[in-house]
Amino acid sequence: MAHDPHAAVAHPPDAPAPAHGGGHATVKTYVNVAVILVVITAIEVATLYVPGIPKALLVISLLLMSAAKFVLVVGFFMHLRYDHNIMRSLFIGPLILAICIIVALMALFSAFILLPR
């Protein structure tokens, strides 16, 4: 098996990204992020059962909470917060395109959730 000699080099926790992109958070940070993710998920599900909540407010709050979870996982668990700008561009660029695809398809089929038909 070929091994990666760079991987054996330890980097201090929360340190800036090394040249080949391998920064990381501490175990405490990981656990804190996981707890926050579970709490947000619980709030998301609980929001569904709030009586009389306007649909627009429900949709916006659910999307914002989902986006927060997305950013936390990508930033901390996928280490993108500590990684090189090239890695960020490689992911965020196509992600923006993916969002454009969703919006374009919904526009094509007149399927916007919040706007009146």
Partner: protein, 211 residues
């Protein structure tokens, strides 16, 4: 013009540089395997973007059949969402243990990650079976059925692939073939694993929670 001595010296320096050169590190100074995985994940974003866009475009346009509100089991899918979030934590703990040369701990965390993923897949199989057998919702029933099964089915296939990949690493660890020099390889598997988690974060909210 350089003489033979200069050429010899250059050759020695060149050989020394070559000996220290890691073929996985590209001219950008970045690890090619990580760059490749990020490119793949970027393209997979667009793949899932198309499927989510299609689902949303078809939403409420089915001519018949059960509606999402009738069939969705929110407690079950919330549990599945929590399972994937938990598995993302165990994945980073596996990497952290591997970096610290705690191979046994790393293998156990990898195994826990794979088992959480397997549990997620089994929940999905149960959900699909319930839809088909109890509600009569199949790939051919309605626009909702086709767009839902294709989207969540492809996600489930991604999770299954990730479980197999993680179990391969667990197997290598059991045979004594995992050590800190494999960090980047396991990290790349971890990137893939976290990606299936973030796709589920989007699917869970957009498909299951938004009424």
């Amino acid at each position: 013009m350089a003489g033979p001595g200069a050429h010899g010296e250059a050759a020695v320096h060149g050989a020394a540089a070559h000996a220290h050169h890691d073929p996985n590190i590209g001219t950008t100074g970045l690890d090619n395997r990580k760059v490749g995985m990020w490119i793949f994940l970027g393209s997979d974003c667009m793949f899932f973007g198309s499927l989510i866009g299609t689902y949303l475009s078809y939403k409420g346009k089915s001519l018949g059949g059960p509606t999402p509100a009738e069939v969705f089991n929110i407690p079950l899918t919330s549990y599945s969402a929590a399972l994937l979030l938990f598995s993302s934590l165990t994945m980073v703990l596996a990497l952290d243990a591997l970096k610290a040369n705690r191979i046994k701990a790393s293998a156990w965390w990898l195994f826990a990650t794979a088992m959480a993923g397997l549990h997620f897949v089994l929940n999905q199989v149960y959900e699909f079976a319930e839809f088909v057998l109890h509600y009569g919702l199949t790939l051919h029933t309605s626009l909702f059925g086709s767009s839902f099964f294709v989207l969540t089915g492809f996600h489930g296939a991604h999770v299954t692939g990730g479980v197999i990949w993680l179990l391969i690493w667990v197997g290598l660890a059991m045979r004594g073939k995992l050590d800190p020099r494999d960090y980047t390889k396991v990290e790349v598997a971890g990137l893939y694993w976290h990606f299936v988690d973030i796709v589920w974060i989007a699917i869970f909210t957009i498909i299951y929670l938004i009424p």
